[in-house]
Structure formats: structure tokens, C-alpha cells
Symmetry: C2
Subunit: 591 residues, 2 copies
């Protein structure tokens, strides 16, 4: 069975030596000193290893079962969920006014990385609740907040998000679910929603569904869509549970992975709901939470890969097979461990250099969200909006790729379910799809985010890279980083320029390159992160840090990323600059 | 449920317009005219669509079950296996002396592509038998051939290959299975073998296991390994079945995919076996079949992807979502089909351009095997030995990637088992692992094949590319192909040069780049194939071919490959030229 140990050391490095959070000037961050975050991360690491990880394979094997209209989660999930609630882990960054602990979103992400690595399917129950919490917190009336939030913060009640219908996912304008206004101010919601994660289960006494539906008078397309609160059990004035609402589970989907989470078809048959936020502004309400939700999925992408990598690394150290080409390294054994072989190293370094870069990138993104929310910093808001599709799309694509690399280290055993590597690959696969398929992320990035606010944010990003490189100008040791970053950044700028010039004439020219642009930008972001991490590591070494092996390893891993991963940028640029013609040349019949 | 229709048109194009098989001067090929191959391919297409494809999901869902020591295959597999035998499909390229039809191996591959696309797990039962047939055919005594081959050609008896043990896969020198000589010339075989595809099942009355084991006196490592024939039921002199041999199924492995094929742990408890080939030369005997077996797995890699692509294409034409950015294309519908969106096109073109190139590459490889075997052409033998790790490693990596791309087109539905796309991805994944994991293919390519016969074959490959480009020098229309191919070929040569120069000093420098080299060479091979296909398409158009849409589509698809896939070559070169340092920099403890 696979195991998982949280890499709290690397998290601390990112928080305190790269992001330097307690000096960042973000409200709430000043309390986040090393001792404090250490205590939180250690406690979360313990829960991850002892409570969540042992249930990961169980969840995959047993899955969820629909019995008489009620979904049963796998054995042990209920006790683990109680432990999460008791430990206060569901309330970490929630509003203290509703029972939350008011910590930064960033810290919630660090803890979340562990929980996802340990058991992604399990963690979704509280993850979805957090999303619904945020929506109600942002758009609910005081009454709604008082009614729902305390129970959702504690996860006594969980939440869901209901967007997709059988015939429409990305294109929500075609939505058929209807909401009819009632005399008492409530609505009757009728329709079918699919792919509803945690749609039903036995872990909470109530489930608060947030449902997108069309109310009369809103016009065509997404303009007519509103967001509704539809609880599984209606909630009485005194907060006690009332009648069962007219919402039921149609079926549980059989999925490729995340079997421990119940993915439901939900039927709303005139269910009672209440408008959340403004009428006909449901899409906007939903999108308020988008940066956070998508960052959360990007985090899942690399967090599952982190667990897979840890196991691949252990296997590579343990499994004896063949001899090192440069001479036997394990003369007393029948063979050398896999890790002596250069191609196994290549694979492990691809994994490690991506994972550490992804962690820094995600944590940085989370700190931007905190800065935007807590300081009302519009530039931070603009920057994280720009980064969000990259975090989601790039980190989940590469996360899946990394998981597959880790699985490959196991050879034949990687394909056998018993060893657990297949589950990681099957689980990771969903992250490329849900919360906006990665092609949609690329479209969002190139079709919307690049030009947002007159292109101000992407220009700021380029300036940030320039400043970073300039800061290390005098440091010869940083040249492998700054040279590679400058080159990659230039390729990214050339791509953006190509889009501007050719996109005027033919919008397909930009959109044909959108996916490559997302990846190219992802590499530039990780290149920037590695430059910052290398600088931080050099600073620590210069200051006489005792753990030389860690910092030197950090620099070497970064050099690997710059030398071996950044060359993908030129490929993406070449693909982008080939324009729309190769992509659009065939008629539909010629396929 | 997914469907599959064999692309016989494209196969015919490759056979007759690209490879021009009936003029190729290979014994047996002269009879392969268009009408003949058309008849065979059409018949095979019918069996694929009507008999095999409908059982693909069934096989995945039901899987194989071990009951009282006997493996039961999924419902319908037995009838389908009878149909395959009755149709003579198991005997296509087998030796007529033993009941085979004596057709080219190439034709067997074309038919095999269909069978794999339709139902990979099912087709493995006969595929493994074919491998065992080839081993006995090449190394068996006349008596052994007479005893086993006719029943194996007809698949009344099936075959297996037993190499892996729990503690050793790639490194077979550590093998523990023992063979003790008996007075009557037989051996007693004792040991445990794992990952035995089609190890037991209910489709045949006998199973002929080929088992690698160590017989006394052979020395250490792989030198002491011999190959043995160990039938499930002993075969009497008159050919009737005798006593049950001491071989049993330990368990069926639960795998990520190919559930329809029984992957068994096999226990040999003093089972009676007979030496196949020379004593202590078992590895050599096993490797005789290697080119064929590995080409077969490369073929699986793209064949599963072909099935996935066909379904993704149908979905992209059918599913309405969003509007084309250049203006509505389906004004009477609620939205435009997915295929109008440039990023969906990008994905489909990545798939299509790979698949058609992979088909041409594999068919060309198969024709080299025929040339080597039937004409005793050593250059062809050398060339296919060089190409084999590329066909296996590159086509399975890209095949899996392509399958994942196809799955992605479905959005959320791609993750739901019901739609069948998850199965394609799960099935395709094994091809990167078995028959030598792809890292081992890369090692074989760079560590052995490049320098084989003094590097003669790789030089011949470069000359072939040069000649191909030269042949189209005067044709302006071919420039997008020849220019790109020349550039990629030069990058491949630079890589080989780097290996020669740096590998002398440090063997890790070459091996650190082996995986990238395999991919770089794969792209060059597909670039060569596309150049040939484009030339053939132009020739057809110049000759006034009526099906202009097909040939123009072929050229456009090729241009996509050259413009959008070949840029990966420069990335691989950059990775290779970064050498061993980034890869080997960390100590084991620093990971």
C-alpha cells in the first residue's frame, strides 16, 4: 500500500524563505511566523498520514454505493470526517464571525495540499463545502449567512455546486433547470444536474446545494441564470432540520477514479430554493469563487502527483534491478537500486523539479488571493485572475503527466491496483477535466485574461520577471536561472505579440495557440519560482545555514528545471507561430 | 458505448501508394495486390466491428474470474474466439506446413491493428499464442513443431510467455525459477512467474507455456537461463491430451485496464517441461522474437488510440457547445458542434497526424521484418532492430497521450466509465510498460542499437532521409516537408554526435538523454513517413485521382505534423545536450 509523508520542510521553505510571509504586509500574515506555521503544518501532517492516507485505497476499492436513495461512503470515512471536524480542519480560513479560525487562505492551501495528497476523494467533501461556504459568504443575505454558514464552517452540513446538465457543461447558456418564483419569496427548482461531487453521502446531517437555474425574465443564454440555495433538508427558523426537500439522487456515476467521492446525478423536482445574490446574476456569483476553486484544482493536480512521486522515489531506492553503468553501487546485493540508473533519475528529477515549482507557484497564487481579499489590492486581484487558468490548466496537465511518470517507475507493478500507483493516475486524471476543462482554461487565458484591463496584468508580470532577473545581475551563480528565465520570458512575449498581431485578422490564429500558450506561460511561471527559490537557497547558504544538503539540493533541482523543462518553451512558441492554418485546414468531412 | 470502424482506406493507401508492396520485391508480396488486400481487410473490418468491438466494454466490466483454479473469461469471449478461429484469423501469417496461410507479417499487422482497436484485451489471447508459436517455430525440434504448432496456429491451444518473477522483471539474471533435468530428457520446472498474460482461461483446451528458468551448470546471471515448453496438459504421442501438469494459477491480478485478459501469477511446482532451443541460451531464443513482439506492442499503442480518436471525433461533430468565434456555424441549433473550436481542432489534429504517421511507420517496420525474414536481407534486419525500440517506446508513449487527448474531448463524460473513453486510456497505459518498459527501450536504443554493426544502420537511416529529401528537391510543394525533416534529422544527428563525444568520458551523459533521443528519433521517423505520404498524395493528385478530398486532407494533416509536432525535436536536443550533470547532481539522500 502506498504511503504519504507531508513535505513540511519544503512548505516552510516556500512560506518563510521564498514568500517571506510574515514580512509581506498582508493583514493576518504578521502572525504567521515559523513556529506558528510549523505547529499547524505538523498537526496537519499527522492527520494526513494517520487518518486520511490509510483510507485512500479503501475509498478507491469500495467506492460509494446508492442504497434506497441514500449514498453510503466507504468504510471509515465517517470516523475520519468526524476527526477532521473535531480538529477544526474544516474551519481554518473561514470567517471567525461564523465559527472560522480566520487564518490566511494560503495556510489553508498548504494544509489542503497534504489532505489531497493523502486522500483526494475524501478531501473533496470538505473542499466542495468550502466553495459553497465562500459563495454564501460573498453573496448571501445576513439571514442566509447566519442560517447556513456556522454549520458549513464546522462541516456539520456540507455543500455542493450544481452547474452541469447532461447536454451542457461549458456552455451553461443552454441550461434547462428552471426556478419558478413562489408567493413566499422562495423558488421551485426543477431540472437535472450531473457530475455533482459529494451530491449525497452519509457524512453530514444536511447538504446545502447551490444550484444554477433559469428564473423567468432573464433573457437568453447565461444572462438568465440565477444561483439558488437548495438544502437537502429545509431548515427551520430555529436552525433545526425540517422537511426533506424535493431533491434526490438519480444515480452515482461509475468513474475512472476518485471513487471515494460520490459523483451524483441530482434530480430537482420542484425543490424549494432561495435566491443567492442578485436575480439573473448567477453566473457572476459563481465566478466570484472561480479563482479560489480553480487554484484548488491546480493544487489537486500536483498534490496527487506529490504522493505518487514519494512512492516512486521509495520504490526506486528499494527495488534492486540491474547494475549502474559506471560501476556497481551495491556490491553486497544481487543488483543495484533503480535510482542508480540515469533514466530513472531523469524521471525522478522531472517529477521533483515540477512538484517543488508547482508548490511555490500555488502558494504564491494563494498569497495573491489573500492580498487581494484582505488588502483590497486590485493589482493582486488582476494578477491572480491572469494566473488562475495557468495554475489550473498547467499544473493539472503536468500533475497527471508526473503521476504517470511515477507510475512508470514501478514497471509492471505500477499497473497492478494493489500497489496504488494506478489509483493516483486515475484520480489525477479528473483534475484536467473538472472546474473548466483545460482547453477552456486556455481559452479563458488567451481570449480574456491577457487583454484584461488593457493588458495591464500581463505587462506587470513581464516587469516582475525583468526585476527578478535584474536583482540577481551581479550574482554569477544565478546566471543559469536568469538566463533561462529571460529566454523563456522572451518567448512568452513573442507569443503574446503574435496573438495581438494575427488575432486582429483572424481570431482563430490566437485560439489555435491557446493551449500551447498556457503551457508556455506555466513554464515561465515555474521558471520564475525556481529563480526565486534558488536565490533564497543561496541566501541561506551564504548566511551559513546548517542544512547545506537541502539548499544545495534545492539549487540543483532548480537547475534541472531550467535546463530540462524550460526548453519546452521554444516548442510551444513554434507551435503557436504556425498559426491557424495547420489547425483549421481540414473541412469537417476530411477528418 | 464507443464504436469502431476500421480505417481500411488509409491502410490501403499506406500499403499500395506509400509502401507499394506488390512492387517491393519481397517474396509473397507480389500477390498482395489491391483487390486481394482489400478483400482481407474488409473481412477483418467486419469481424472487428461486429464480433470484437461489442465485447470490449463487456470485457472491461466483467473482467476475468478465478473459480476453483480455473479462469473464466468474460461472457461472449468464447463464442468470439471460436469465430476468430473459424475465420482463420489466428493463422494468417503462419507457416503453411503447420496449417498457416503463409501471408506476409505486414498483412497480419494491418489486420491486427483492427483487432486491437476493437478489443485489445481479447486480441491478446491470440497475440500471445502467436509469440509462442514463433518461438517454437524458430527454435523447436521437428518433433516439437509437429506436436505443438498445428494446434497453436489454429488456436485450439494458446500460448504464453513466462519471464517476470516478483523480484525481477528487466533484470532477468536474478531469476529463481529452476529446471532440473530428468532421466527421460525432460525437466522439472519449479518457481513462480508473475504478470503472465492469458496465463489461464477457458478459451482453449490446452495452454502451452514458454518458461524461462535456470538449469544447472549455466553460470551466473542471464547466461544460465534456458527456455522450456511447459504445457498445461501434457500431450500424448498421438497428440491427445494427457495428465494435468503441475502448473497452477496463484491469482489473477487486479489491473488498471485490459480486464478482459487474464493476467496471472503462475506457480510451477515441479512441472514437466522440455527444453526449447539450446541449453543456457534461453535469453537468445526469447530475443529472436523481440522485434516482432515489440512492434506488436507499438501497434497496440496507436491502435487503441485510433479507436479513442474515432469516438472523440464523432463526439466533437455531435456535441453542441458554444459558438464559433468566427461566426455561428449551426444557426438552427442551440450551439455549434465542438469541432468548430480551434482548440478542439488542435487536439483532433494532434491525434490524427500522429495516428496516420504511426500506422505508416508500423507498416513500414512490418515490411522490414518480412524483407529480413523472407529475403534474408541483413540490412533490413539491422534497420528494424534499430527501429524496434522506437516503434515500441515512442508509439506507446504517444499512443497513450493521444488516447488521453481523445478522452479530454469528452469533457466530464470522458471520466465516466459508461462512455468508454476511460477504458481506452486505462488499456493503453499498459503498452508503455510491458514487453520492456519504455525506459528500457530507450536504453536498448542508445546503449546498444545505435552502435550496432559499427553504427551502420543509423547511418543508413540518415542516408535514407537524405535521399528522400533529395528526391523531392525540385518539387516546391514538398518544401514544408523536406525542410522540416532535414531540420529534425540534423537535430537527431547532433544528438547522436553528443552521445558519441560525451559518452566516451561519461556513459551517464548518453543514458541521461536516452529517453529524449527515443522521442526525437520517433518524430524524425514520423516526419519521414509524412514526407513519403505527402509525396504519394501529390502523385495521386497529379495523376488525376478522383478522391481529391482524401489526398488533400492527407497533405494538410502531414503539414500539421511537420509544423506542430516536429518542433518537439529541438526541445529533446536541448534536453539531451544538457548532459548528465542536471540528471545526476543530487545524492540519493537529497531526493
Amino acid at each position: 500500500m502506498p504511503s504519504y509523508t507531508a513535505n513540511t520542510k519544503d512548505m516552510q521553505f516556500v512560506l518563510h524563505e521564498v514568500l517571506k510571509i510574515s514580512e509581506a504586509g498582508i493583514p493576518g500574515y504578521e502572525e504567521m511566523d515559523r513556529d506558528f506555521t510549523d505547529a499547524v503544518l505538523d498537526a496537519a501532517a499527522k492527520v494526513s498520514a494517520e487518518v486520511l492516507a490509510p483510507l485512500n485505497v479503501v475509498g478507491d476499492t469500495e467506492g460509494c454505493v446508492l442504497e434506497n436513495g441514500i449514498v453510503r461512503t466507504p468504510k471509515g470515512f465517517d470516523a475520519a470526517f468526524e476527526a477532521m471536524k473535531d480538529g477544526g480542519w474544516t474551519a481554518l480560513d473561514c470567517d471567525p464571525d461564523f465559527g472560522g479560525q480566520g487564518m490566511p487562505y494560503l495556510l489553508n492551501c498548504a494544509v489542503g495540499e497534504m489532505f489531497v495528497s493523502a486522500n483526494m476523494a475524501f478531501n473533496m467533501y470538505q473542499g466542495l463545502t468550502h466553495g459553497a461556504y465562500s459563495a454564501i459568504h460573498a453573496h448571501g443575505t445576513d439571514e442566509q449567512k447566519a442560517k447556513y454558514l456556522p454549520k458549513m464552517v464546522s462541516c456539520e452540513w456540507t455543500g455542493t455546486m450544481n452547474l452541469t446538465e447532461p447536454h451542457c457543461g461549458t456552455d451553461l447558456g443552454m441550461m434547462r433547470t428552471k426556478a419558478e418564483p413562489q408567493a413566499d419569496g422562495s423558488y421551485k427548482v426543477t431540472g437535472q444536474k450531473i457530475f455533482i461531487s459529494a451530491g449525497d453521502h452519509d457524512l453530514a446531517e444536511n447538504i446545502i446545494h447551490l444550484v444554477l437555474a433559469k428564473a423567468p425574465g432573464g433573457g437568453e443564454g447565461t444572462k438568465g441564470v440565477s444561483l439558488f440555495i437548495v438544502p437537502k433538508f429545509l431548515v427551520n427558523e430555529d436552525g433545526s432540520l425540517g422537511a426533506r426537500n424535493a431533491v434526490s439522487v438519480g444515480k452515482i456515476e461509475e468513474k475512472m477514479g476518485i471513487h471515494g467521492n460520490s459523483t451524483c446525478v441530482m434530480n430537482y423536482d420542484g425543490a424549494t430554493g432561495w435566491l443567492l445574490g442578485d436575480l439573473h446574476k448567477g453566473m457572476r456569483a459563481m465566478f466570484t469563487m472561480m479563482n479560489e476553486a480553480r487554484l484548488g484544482v491546480g493544487l489537486q493536480g500536483y498534490a496527487v502527483a506529490e504522493a505518487a512521486y514519494q512512492n516512486a522515489l521509495a520504490y526506486a531506492k528499494d527495488r534492486l534491478q540491474g547494475r549502474a553503468v559506471t560501476g556497481t553501487e551495491n556490491p553486497n546485493g544481487p543488483a543495484d537500486p533503480l535510482i542508480v540508473h540515469p533514466d530513472i533519475r531523469r524521471s525522478l528529477m522531472d517529477q521533483k523539479s515540477f512538484l517543488e515549482g508547482a508548490r511555490a507557484f500555488t502558494f504564491w497564487g494563494a498569497s495573491l488571493i489573500d492580498r487581494a481579499h484582505k488588502s483590497g489590492d486590485d493589482d493582486a486581484e488582476g494578477l491572480i485572475s491572469l494566473m488562475t487558468p495557468v495554475i489550473k490548466g498547467f499544473l493539472t496537465d503536468k500533475g497527471f503527466e508526473t503521476t504517470v511518470l511515477a507510475q512508470q517507475v514501478y514497471g509492471g507493478h505500477g499497473y497492478i491496483e494493489e500497489w496504488g500507483m494506478s489509483q493516483f493516475a486515475r484520480d489525477a486524471r479528473i483534475t484536467m477535466i473538472y472546474e473548466g476543462a483545460n482547453g477552456v482554461q486556455a481559452l479563458d487565458l488567451v481570449g480574456r485574461k491577457l487583454a484584461q484591463d488593457g493588458g495591464k496584468h500581463v505587462m506587470a508580470f513581464f516587469e516582475m520577471i525583468k526585476a527578478e532577473c535584474k536583482a540577481h545581475d551581479a550574482d554569477e551563480r544565478m546566471k543559469p536561472f536568469t538566463d533561462a528565465l529571460k529566454g523563456a520570458s522572451k518567448q512568452l512575449q513573442s507569443s503574446a505579440m503574435f496573438f495581438m498581431q494575427s488575432g486582429m485578422k483572424n481570431p482563430n490564429a490566437a485560439l489555435s495557440g491557446s493551449y500551447d500558450f498556457m503551457h508556455l506561460m506555466g513554464h515561465v511561471c515555474l521558471g520564475l519560482m525556481w529563480t526565486r527559490m534558488a536565490a533564497a537557497a543561496h541566501a541561506a547558504l551564504d548566511a551559513g545555514a546548517s542544512d547545506k544538503a537541502f539548499y544545495e539540493g534545492k539549487i540543483a533541482t532548480g537547475r534541472y528545471y531550467m535546463a530540462r523543462q524550460l526548453p519546452a518553451c521554444a516548442m510551444h512558441l513554434a507551435r503557436i507561430e504556425s498559426g491557424a492554418d495547420p489547425v483549421m485546414a481540414l473541412s469537417v468531412d476530411q477528418f
